[in-house]
Amino acid sequence: MGKIIKVSGPLVVAEGLADAGMADVVKVGAQGLKGEILTMTGDRASIQVYEETAGLGPGAEVVTTGAPLSVELGPGLLESIYDGIQRPLTEIRALAGETIARGIDVPALNRTKKWHFIPVVEVGCHVSGGDIIGTVEETSAITHRIMVPHGVEGELVSIKEGDFTVLETVAVVTMRGGSRKELTMMQTWPVRRNRPYKHKFLPDTPMQSGQRVIDTLFPIAKGGTAAVPGPFGSGKTVVQHALAKWSDVDIVVYIGCGERGNEMTDVLMEFPELQDPRTGEPLMKRTVLIANTSDMPVAAREASIYTGITIAEYFRDMGYDVAVIADSTSRWAEALREMSGRLEEMPGEEGYPAYLASRLAQFYERAGCVECLASEPRRGSLTAIGAVSPPGGDTSEPVSQATLRIVKVFWGLDSSLAHARHFPAINWLNSYSLYMDNLRPWYDRNLGRSFLENRAKAVAILQEENNLQEIVKLVGQDALSAGDRLTMETAKMIREDFLQQNAFVDIDNYSTYERQAMLLDIILRYDDLCRKAVSAGADLNKLIQIEARDRIGRAKSVPAETYAEEYSRMADDMAAQIKEASHD
């Protein structure tokens, strides 16, 4: 047992902790505040405390729990909202009311709830770490696969079906040495350690988000990493929420890290009512929320990212596609900076610790497409998407730069687009996705070769528009040739009729890949037909005014059930009208 010798904000220094290990979780003071050992010098430990330290002073007791910061993994994770160190906020509310009292300790997984366990293996078989021994219908959308904890290997001597709590034994394994190991549905895992897997694959499937600018122009692969940097008010949170809602993954872990409490409330109120377009089940049934809002203690903010990604890895190990969405990693980096300052470490750029980049890399590297560690083949993926809030929107600051070095997709939000009410305000000129080459076979197989050709055309037209705009600024619109004016018109259609997408309109908030491909194809066909007509001498003004163009502008609001017929009719009418207009 140790004694505190120094308190400075969330940092506590204690002596007499020779029995504690590095990174152990300790209980500090009479209230038993949770903390984690950061450094050890002799028997003196620096501890970051996850709760407000007011009222602590030298002499107070510090006791180690002997284990590193770990999360409980088992049925009951889904639909929950946890704080940064996996305390269940709904249960805390039932116990302590509207605020989070200090030192409150509630187990992360409900200890009394019974889950119906169905074995999938039989007595006598050989099991090892990661093997699925049974399933639990955790929610109507997700089957929780109960796995053998890592490090356990041997012959299964008993397994039974029935209703159990997470701590009751469901199976018994005789280990190689002859010892018996009782397995429950719950396991724990230290958050700062990656959960093992057999091997990693290069990602080869896009994560469909239903957002046209993302899926078509800057796609992210399942198992990939992406960053969304953007200044205040440019719609980072709306983009993140849209991804959490519509991505075609099985599980979403949403980490609200140092952001507004109301944004978490938004998720909590909205997700149970929204339907997953693929399963028809409420989105909440596949979601785990981690909340460390801006008024909650800063040390737990540092932990929240790891808590979230460890839970995500656990579901990945079951063979699911998982997405971790963190809003915002800048707040996390600031928490890191605050602790580093208290520890009197040498500050790096803008006061961030020198290890900022390596910590960020460690987080994003836990994403990936993997062959799970198990006897039978099983694949899972973990996609990590982080928002970055650079002060003043200037991405030359350390957190943005360190993030961009690691992630392969960059969705740069732009405040000038947001001011112009172009949402999602993802800048099509400076954003990028480095997964295009990996995903090419998938696109060619599923959407035909024309999709990537169209995408390349659209990108070229948008870039050309940018160049032409400079000329227009200098000498005016009239100086442009008919062909260049057509480019400007098509670019406008791509921007307004395709890239703009209203997250708050039911029909428009989610768009399938097929629909995106078809809409882009119509716009580019318009360009193509008009270009031919113009070079044959037609009047561009008339071509611009055809009625079908207005209909393309409204194409976003065509209901999902009838869009295919509607779009092909639109394309036919457009072709006829262009023909007519060029003959007048």
Binding site: E52, A54, I81, N262
Partner: protein
């Protein structure tokens, strides 16, 4: 028993180091008594074994290292709260500065509060009418939401803030609605302007004022 320490070792600006202390805790409130009998308040920023780093809320001028006494009060900064605070004006330490009587506290609250449980929040959806069309029509203020006003020197943010404080109300509900106006580091003229807003104080509103123009640690709300 509260101990008095005469072991101030160092003062530098608003920071002070007290040696040989015992049982002092982080964020604890303390009082310093000058030889003249005057007391000033301060709080603990860091404790390291028997050494406490203390931040003064007032100026440190006139503090004599040998003769001044420091008392640690055993609790963090608290504020006595009561519905009678409506319509009154306070300084940054919560002391009335409007020549009215002392507040009889119903209860004492820690000024740092506790973090709100995100699971217990209700999503803000009620409109607050400020009566300013540019705000109500375009950038609506919502109950339970927070909105900053960005301003610069020479711009009339004080007038706008006073106008919002004066006119804000929630329509269609009889729930109690109070305005707390915190003016931090403003000049005498500005503070008089806010205090003298017509017809405002009797209706509602508690005003927290730091000492005019000084840096005297303003209390951030209730």
């Amino acid at each position: 028993m509260i101990k008095e320490y005469k072991t101030i070792r160092e003062i530098s600006g608003p920071l002070m180091i007290v040696k040989n202390v015992e049982g002092v805790t982080y964020d604890e409130l303390a009082e310093i008594e000058l030889p003249s009998g005057e007391t000033r308040r301060c709080k603990v920023l860091e404790v390291d074994r028997d050494r406490a780093v203390v931040q003064l809320f007032d100026s440190s001028s006139g503090i004599n290292l040998a003769e001044s006494k420091v008392r640690f009060l055993g609790h963090g900064m608290q504020l006595g709260v009561s519905p009678d605070m409506l319509g009154r004006v306070f300084d940054g330490m919560g002391r009335p500065i409007d020549d009215g009587p002392e507040i009889l506290a119903d209860k004492y609250e820690d000024i740092n509060g506790l973090p709100m449980n995100p699971a217990a929040r209700d999503y803000p959806s009620e409109f607050i009418q400020t009566g300013i069309s540019a705000i109500d029509g375009l950038n609506t203020l919502v109950r339970g939401q927070k909105l900053p006003i960005f301003s610069g020197s020479g711009l009339p943010h004080a007038n706008l803030a006073a106008q919002i404080a004066r006119q804000a109300k929630v329509l269609g509900t009889s729930d109690p609605f109070a305005v707390v106006f915190a003016a931090i580091g403003i000049t005498f003229e500005e503070s008089e302007y806010h205090v003298l807003q017509p017809g405002q104080r009797p209706r509602r509103g508690t005003y927290l004022h730091p000492p005019h123009g000084s840096d005297g640690g303003g209390i951030p709300g209730l």
